[in-house]
């Protein structure tokens, strides 16, 4: 064990080693028990300076733990990699999957909604709305209680809007606002 080795160990205590120097320090510690003892002394000096209890209390703890860990498995990159794959799937992938799942659910809901809507209503209600609604709306317009629309063009356009609205809401199951207007006007 040289002075240079000890300097490396001192730097390791301060977590100031990287790359090949860290490799070297670990090799020294693995090969030389004196180096391990020296490293522990440096570490304990730091611990004492920082107030972490008296020196020597747990001096044998490291060897005790190392002994106890002998029966524990040695991890491999595969073990860790497998866990990493499970835990840290790329976020964009999940985002995409979530997006697709939401889109699929909405699509399925839309299809089910259309399928459960009585098809005849769509066909038969439209002409009925076309016949009924204008009559009501014309009444509203003519009475002038709500709208004072004297222009026939505008009146027709408003009625066509209401018809469209009625058709759309009728097919989607939403309560038609146009009918409320009609009832209120009468």
């Amino acid at each position: 064990m040289t002075m240079n080795h000890n300097e490396l160990l001192s730097a390791l205590v301060d977590s100031e080693l990287q790359g090949s120097e860290l490799d070297q320090a670990l090799q020294i510690l693995a090969a030389d028990e004196l180096a391990t003892a020296q490293f522990q002394r440096y570490q304990q000096t730091t611990d004492v300076l920082k107030g972490y209890g008296e020196r020597g209390l747990s001096h044998n703890l490291a060897s005790r733990i190392s002994l106890a860990l002998e029966s524990e498995p040695v991890y491999s990159e595969q073990t860790t990699k497998h866990k990493a794959e499970v835990i840290t799937l790329p976020t964009p992938f999940w985002k995409q999957m979530t997006g697709l799942a939401v889109a699929a659910s909405l699509g399925a809901l839309a299809v089910v909604g259309v399928m459960t809507q009585p098809q005849n209503d769509l066909l038969t209600n439209t002409p009925m709305a076309a016949i009924d609604a204008p009559a009501e709306m014309i009444t509203v317009a003519q009475t002038g209680e709500r709208w004072t629309v004297n222009e026939p063009e505008i009146e027709n356009r408003l009625n066509s809007y209401l018809l469209d609205h009625n058709e759309q809401t009728g097919s989607s199951g939403v309560f038609s606002y146009a009918r409320v207007v009609s009832y209120g006007a009468e």
């Binding site: 001192s10 205590v13 860290l22 570490q43 000096t45 300076l49 920082k50 747990s58 835990i87």
Partner: protein
């Protein structure tokens, strides 16, 4: 890369010896933390050993989201609490916050468990270390003070002292060697070697 994280990655990749370094780095601090819960020093060592074994077993799940020591600290606290619960002893109502884990040595709840003997020994050591530091050349003393008391990195010390990082490293090493000699005098040469 952070040295602790690199050591963890080496363990995860099959280098079991790298875990020994982590044990040596943190054993004293972990024992100190556990002594705040488990007052008996022998029991505290057993609990510390259990905590390190638990940490080793959980290591494949460690992703480096927090500092290794903070993670280890939490394991140690939980192990100590479980130990007390298993023995029908009530764990302390409060403990040192994990975020303050690196500064917990000032926590009064830990200080109160010191025995007069350990306190005296610590005082002697502290005094001896301070005397050793006082006797160092100014540059060397400044480097070790900035490192140990201010917690500065080598890079920061180099900036403050306007010298290369390599110089800082050797100054700190020389300071440690001098302190080591002083401690040997205080403790006696026979000390666990």
């Amino acid at each position: 890369m952070n040295v602790d994280l690199e050591l963890v990655q080496r363990v995860q990749a099959g280098d079991k010896k790298a875990f020994d370094v982590l044990i040596m780095k943190y054993q004293q601090r972990i024992v100190h933390v556990i002594t705040g819960f488990v007052h008996d020093p022998v029991e505290a060592l057993d609990v510390a050993q259990e905590a390190f074994i638990k940490a080793y077993r959980a290591l494949p799940n460690f992703r480096g989201d927090s500092a290794f020591y903070t993670w280890l600290y939490r394991i140690a606290i939980n192990t100590a609490k479980n130990y007390l619960t298993a023995r029908s002893r009530r764990p302390p109502a409060s403990d040192v916050d994990a975020m303050d884990a690196t500064n917990y040595y000032d926590a009064p709840e830990l200080k109160e468990f010191e025995t007069p003997e350990t306190r005296m020994m610590s005082d002697d050591l502290e005094q001896g270390i301070h005397e050793a530091i006082q006797a160092l050349p100014e540059d060397t003393a400044t480097a070790i003070k900035l490192r140990e008391f201010e917690g500065m990195s080598y890079e920061e010390i180099a900036e403050v002292m306007e010298c290369p990082i390599g110089t800082v490293r050797s100054r700190i090493f020389r300071a440690r060697e001098a302190i080591e000699l002083q401690i040997k005098e205080i403790m006696g040469e026979g000390e666990q070697q």
